[in-house]
Symmetry: C2
Subunit: 249 residues, 2 copies
Amino acid sequence: MLAIYNIRLVIEYDGKDFNGWQKQNDKLNIQGEIERAIEIITGEKVELIASGRTDAGVHALNQIANFKIDKDINIEKLPYALNSQLKKSVRIKTAELVDNEFHSRYHAKKKTYRYVINNSSQGSSIYRNLEYNFPLHLDEKLMQEAIEYFIGEHDFKAFKASGGSTKSSVRTIYNASVRREGERIYIELTGNGFLYNMVRIIAGTLLDVGLGRIKPEEVKEIIESKDRSRAGKTLPPNGLFLVNVDYNE
Amino acid sequence: MLAIYNIRLVIEYDGKDFNGWQKQNDKLNIQGEIERAIEIITGEKVELIASGRTDAGVHALNQIANFKIDKDINIEKLPYALNSQLKKSVRIKTAELVDNEFHSRYHAKKKTYRYVINNSSQGSSIYRNLEYNFPLHLDEKLMQEAIEYFIGEHDFKAFKASGGSTKSSVRTIYNASVRREGERIYIELTGNGFLYNMVRIIAGTLLDVGLGRIKPEEVKEIIESKDRSRAGKTLPPNGLFLVNVDYNE
């Protein structure tokens, strides 16, 4: 029998408690945790497909995932039912019935990521798992100047960690901004897709710009070089949030 | 020998990891944790005096505390030195040398507390320890109307949990506000002092107002009744933050 109901979930999670999205054998992961809850609630073993994987420690405010089941279930109550079975570090925000063709990964058109830097000397105890503490002063105006070079279609090979599985490293960035609010700096990027560790490497490169180690205009050369060794280091996962996934052009 | 250096600390902590400020025998507490670090760094056993205790689970953005030592230490490097010995859930933000007479508790003139309600149906995984999730819709305009009755000098006996040690329950509230940002509601109160659980009981009462169970103007009567049973329930500690302590009139 073909599964006939296609259900789309909006999911928030605290990445610190998981070894990333992807199902693995022993380690706690978000996909496996939610599939377990779905099986308890619906009685069906499903495969939950996300818009993309997130690494261990990375958070999501609105991850999108879908799964198919045979059983007609109460879709309105599904978030409550699933949350009652899930660890508190993952929440189903909403659930809706979608077209049978809808595919969370293939149909994602844009993604927005945010990287949060706490730019204070001692960092924060309360938000320590939700930001990266960097104690030396960063000039956010230089960082804003630099981030604009990422906008447009580029080969981002210089900003890709080894280990990613995609063939092409060409991506389009639609929006990119850096803003400071007090001691925090927020880096935000919207693109049609991101390579493995791409946002964290861009954030690390912007950090060098904020310190004056790299000039904003050098970012253009680094992109063109396609040389990973010329970009900055990969910042830790705890400062990274998947903010949104957009399915419209 | 008299201790001659009086040192004032600004401290941030994540209340979830501690059984409150006050030193207790077995349980992890903030006072004991910092006193331990001070002893390691300075070699002196000190008593750390805070502006006031906070309960288990309550957070502080800028708690103030002071201690006296005999030894001349590098005050600029003290936050780094102490933080290197502290759990990550507590951070010393700054340290400064102050008048020998300065007393964190006796000289505190104003305190500001914030209570955070996540007013969404499923709550947040990421911020679950930093807010109280209440799923039914709250009308923040009614809550704002109600909170204004707290402003001024009142006997707040109706908003005091048993167990507090203070004699008088008269306090002055200087500022009080309720604001909504998306799904979050922020209740903020500045006063010359707060009774045991007072902010959490005020927040619980405002929650009843936001639901329409209590009319804003009834808050006046509840205050005048001095009857704890007429006020709302005590909301959980994880939504409460000590924001600031002010030592000027």
